[in-house]
Amino acid sequence: MRTENQKAWFFVLPVLALVAFNALVPMMTVVNYSVQETFGNNQFFWEGLGWFEQILRSDRFQAALGRQFLFTFLILIIEVPLGIIVALSMPRKGFWVPVCLVLMALPMLIPWNVVGSMWNIFTLPQIGLLGYFLNDVLGINYDMTQQPISAWITVVVMDVWHWTSLVVLLCYAGLVSIPDAYYQAAKIDGATPWSVFRYIQLPKMKTVLTIAVLLRFMDSFNIYTEPFVLTGGGPGNSTTLLSIDLVKIALGQFDLGPAAAMSLIYFAITLLVSWLFYTLMTKDDAE
């Protein structure tokens, strides 16, 4: 006979309390706002799911969501392969290892709004080093304050500059953990460099690559500071990503109800896509 003992649940209580304070309670206030209308003075009126419906149906939200997905897609499709390539070409031992690692880590150490300001000054069409060079030396018509395409390219390049290092460092950690015997065996088996990558390096990098993709997805999907400082969401609304739009609604227009509903939708999408990525990338291991 096995006796069931439910006492173990008591051990979970402290964690539950902690999570309640740092996540559940703040989140409940958002939920609270999302189903009510307020005009200040602590007066609230029941609104039901109205805000959610309004947000989901609005062209403004759909456009911002589209831009957000496009941005994240571009970031992932550039940063992940680029990160792998850089990690593969870094030295595995010797004097240059620490040098490379520090150089790689540098962009990540710069505060986000400083990155935004740096790139803003760097790319301004008349006075910025890059802006001046493109326009007046190469004769390319480039103005990220006026042209949506230029603004988009600048925002994407800035993020690639800022965050590819993260993918590089994670992949590099995966690569250096591969024992020499694998490379020696591959040499003896007559494997081509592509086979070495396909059958040894890539599988061994898979775990860290999953983490890298998840982190880069979440960070780029929730990105706010850098594009806000660089373009302020413009020109027009062309680089108004979800978070920028959210702040405009919440703090600019002070529409707390719709902003709360949008926050919850935003959160749900982030969670859902992260779960999808994770499930798809770890599917093989479960077999």
Partner: protein, 357 residues
């Protein structure tokens, strides 16, 4: 299949080696017969793995040549030497099935599909892994993984030699002997030259027809297991092989006798040479007890099942004796008898007596 010859081989990991102490391998000259089973035996850091990597082509020696059937392969990369190597930790291509793993070396060499299938089936049958061919290799137990890495070496029928670099390190003890006898069986079936690196004397002595004992980058003796046991050429071999190892006792030598702690000991034959550190070497198995002989004081008796290991003091020198029955009690005084044909003198480590014909 090929005969392997190492000629004047030396290797140093330093760019400009100065003295002999800078060499990880000092002057190696050996010839290994086609189809033989050899073991490289020595303690960690003696240069055996370096030597193995030089033969397989993963390292290029500083000096000397490697010849496969009189063809100089010193400058060839590993994939052109047609050798196979099994590493200490099993190397498996995780994303492939067992069958794909075995087929990989053939595929890389552009062998046609029908031949690949035939060879893979043959090897799988030899290794008893036929029923695993379609499973993912990543989930296998360490001993099966090690079998697959072996199989990847054997699947090519043009292999000159198969090298094993301490292949049983990660295998559970009760599976070790099983895998070891599998190896022996494989050697008989494929007839390839096999070179087995280990620091475990049991593995070396059971696997190999001939064992190369190494110490500090030098070959100290090459011989059959019996030769290494019966007539060690160096005190290191005597001490490293056998359990417990050979007694190495300080002595003085004159003619065919040695003077040990004031007692005269008959040797296998006359000594040669002069000076140096002189030691008397005798295996514990050949130290007997009697009514007369060298007086000794028994300090410890260990019963290890098949026999007793007796530790005793002669004067101030400790030594060991092995006896199958009638072990003396600790603390008792006994007389030891050294078997003359197994008593030898070593000068500076090297044997200095001649066998009486």
């Amino acid at each position: 299949m090929a005969q392997i010859k190492l000629s004047n081989l030396r290797h140093s990991y330093m760019p400009t080696p100065k003295g002999p102490e800078d060499y990880a391998l000092k002057e190696i000259d050996v010839t290994w017969r086609d189809g033989g089973a050899y073991a490289l035996l020595g303690p960690s850091g003696c240069g055996k793995s370096t030597l193995l990597n030089i033969i397989s082509g993963l390292l290029t020696p500083s000096e000397g040549q490697i010849l496969f059937d009189d063809r100089d392969v010193t400058a060839l990369p590993p994939d052109q030497r047609n050798i196979a190597q099994v590493f200490q930790f099993p190397v498996i291509y995780d994303t492939m099935t067992v069958g794909e793993n075995l087929a990989f070396p053939l595929k890389n060499r552009g062998v046609d599909a029908a031949t690949i299938k035939r060879r893979v089936d043959e090897i799988a049958e030899m290794l008893d892994v036929t029923d695993m061919l379609d499973t993912r290799a990543s989930g296998l137990s360490p001993d099966n993984k090690q079998k697959i890495s072996m199989g990847r070496g054997l699947v090519r029928d043009d292999v000159n030699a198969v090298m094993f670099d301490e292949p049983l390190t990660v295998i559970d003890p009760h599976l070790k002997w099983k895998l070891r006898s599998k190896l022996k069986e494989l050697h008989q079936r494929v007839q390839a030259t096999m070179i087995y690196v280990t620091h475990d004397q049991t593995e070396a002595l059971t696997f190999a027809d001939e064992v190369v004992v190494m110490q500090e980058g030098e070959v100290v003796q090459i011989g059959t297991p019996v030769e290494l046991f019966e007539r060690p050429q160096h005190t290191f071999v005597g001490h490293f092989i056998g359990s417990p190892g050979m007694n190495v006792l300080p002595c003085e030598a004159k003619g065919d006798r040695a003077l040990f702690e004031g007692h005269e000991v008959m040797l296998e034959g006359p000594t040669h040479g002069d000076g140096g550190r002189t030691d008397l070497g005798i295996r514990p198995e050949y130290v007997g007890f009697g009514d007369t002989g060298i007086p000794a004081h028994v300090t410890k008796v260990a019963d290890i099942g098949r026999h007793f290991v007796v530790s005793a003091m002669v004067g101030n020198t400790p030594l060991k004796a092995v006896t199958e029955h009638n072990a003396p009690n600790p603390g008792s005084h006994v007389f030891l008898q050294f078997k003359p044909e197994q008593s030898r003198v070593y000068r500076d480590g090297w044997i200095a007596t001649e066998e009486r014909v």
